[in-house]
């Protein structure tokens, strides 16, 4: 029992970080119906940036979030303008899936050239520290990452609900045509929110490198999880993404402890298939119409 509770704690902590990455993905989908397959590669890119800052400039990975996130925001804005916005016509949704996949390959290639394909890890002095509460262990890094993700997610939801920009974003999600008619600059909203989505990946990525070792190919593992999280939560639903991330984290951690770590990721995919059998639209999604 103690072991299971410990696994649940671990799963929730990790799920929080995934929630941050997935929230960016699902936000971007909600606004412009674009699935950013490069989200995983962008997380890895941020992990490398934070790694480089740590090993060359000795900047703490949690502090480097403040540098990496704005830089990646700018990158996201550029990506949206150059690659995503120029897709026009009725196929633009499918095309965006492929263009962002190509972008992921490009990032993987560039990172492999610069950093080679050996596994790296950002390891600050406190990497192995744990806190013990009531006999349960909390990894210090994971706890900090969880709290940081929680803070960022709250900030994101405040941004969406309390600001003018947030109102424009939500209007665009509900009805793009009506939003444009009411004076919302759709292009501006789309570009900024793509940047926002990418910076969510960046913030999570800067910390990701402290929790897991990574190499340029790690983005496949990440994107497979992120995509299934947003589908399980329901495409476009922020709350769904957060819930699905926690479900994934806990499922994997419990399976890893109670059965075998090699089947952990697999078990989560099975959960996804079973849920889709009952609810094709995921937890909080709206049923999609055919293209």
């Amino acid at each position: 029992m103690h072991q299971v509770v410990q696994a649940v704690i671990l799963g929730v902590l990790i799920g929080g970080v995934y929630a941050l990455m997935a929230s960016g993905l699902t936000l971007v989908f909600g606004i412009m119906r674009v699935i950013n397959v490069a989200q995983g590669a962008l997380v890895i890119l941020a992990a490398y940036l934070s790694y480089a800052l740590f090993s060359h400039a000795h900047i703490d990975p949690f502090l480097s979030v403040l540098i990496v996130t704005p830089a990646m925001f700018v990158l996201g804005v550029l990506v949206q303008i150059v690659f995503v916005r120029s897709l026009r016509g009725s196929d633009s949704e499918e095309l965006s899936l492929l263009v962002t996949w190509a972008l992921a390959l490009g990032i993987e290639g560039v990172l492999s050239v610069i950093f080679k394909t050996t596994y790296r890890a950002t390891s600050p002095s406190y990497a192995d520290k744990t806190l013990t509460v009531f006999g349960y262990q909390f990894g210090f890094v994971r706890l900090m990452a969880f709290i940081g993700s929680g803070v960022l997610l709250v900030l994101l939801s405040l941004l969406l609900t309390r600001t003018r920009f947030g109102r424009a974003v939500r209007a665009t999600v509900q009805n793009p045509t009506a939003a444009t008619l009411l004076g919302v600059d759709a292009n501006r909203v789309q570009t900024l929110s793509f940047g926002l989505g990418v910076s969510m990946a960046a913030a999570a990525g800067a910390v990701y490198g402290v929790i897991y070792p990574f190499n340029p190919g790690s983005h496949y593992d990440l994107i497979s999880r992120l995509l299934s999280i947003v589908v399980l939560g329901g495409l476009g639903s922020l709350g769904g993404a957060v819930l699905a991330s926690l479900v994934m984290g806990v499922t994997e951690a419990v399976v890893a402890v109670e059965w075998k770590p090699t089947w952990a990721a697999f078990s989560y995919f099975i959960v996804l298939i079973v849920v889709l059998l009952v609810r094709p639209q995921g937890f909080f999604g709206v049923r999609e119409r055919a293209l």
Partner: protein
Amino acid sequence: MTRTGLLRAAAFLAVGIAFPFVFSPAWLVNIGVLTLMYAALATSWNLFSGYTGYITLGQVAFFGLGAYTLAITFEHYGIGSGYNPFYVLPLVGAGVAFASMPVAWIALRTRAMTFAIVTLTLLFIVQQLAFNLHSVTHGSSGLMLPTPTTFGVSTYDDPFYFAMLGILCIALLLCWGVLRSKLGLMLLAVREDEEKARGLGIRVTGAKLIAWWLHVFVTAMVGAVWAYYLTFIYPESSVDPLVMIGAVLMTFLGGRGTLWGPVIGAVVLVPAQQYMLLHLGGSQLYLVGYSAVFVVVLLLLPRGILPSLRDGVTRTRERRRTRLEAAAS
């Protein structure tokens, strides 16, 4: 079949059969095998995704299943060497296709982007299975197949070449047959407006499932030949996202929903891909080159070579007609 259609098919067959005799060096035939392999994969992707509008990103999962099915059969039942494995290909294809049906049924309950993502997770599921079912697949250490000893040394690649050519012909015939049949009309109706098609009484799920079965049938056969050709498979190589994206890219380049588009896409891109692998492979730079080609294709030619050409031809014809009419009046 129209006369131009017959001519095209005859020309394709003639070039396809003559190629290994004219360009006999092994490295050229090797590129030929890979080109045909991608052409068959792209054609069968087109058979499902091009006609129904449902983008599947999980095709390579069934490529891997075909490869593993043949390799595992080899290990446990010894289906003989030489040409024998080629005869069991249809069984492998049909077996994998039937096995994929329950998953397809679940996946096809979702629409559009969700479907694309669910099929993409199929890819990762099969790769995970190949890693984890250690007793059957030997996990990451991979599976060896016996090297056929009866094939001549200088013409070793030829049987594989013709096997791939045969599968590509089957795939093209299936596409052609489907397009001319009622099934093809049903699929196109699904692509244009599924709700309306359902409203008109078309059994959309059945039509989609038949197209799915056909595309997996071809894909698994290609995977099996590929495994026999390489004689060594492991999870990353047999369920490779790069192969998946390659087949999709070729279909987009040639033209989705057209008969010959995927073949043209493969003929253009596979030699280019092999060239990049050869010159940039060691440094992983080829990934950058590949993604650059990809982005250029999608941004500049999103509809593909064939449809763009066709548009060009119609436009010139119309212009000529209006000019003639203007001259006549």
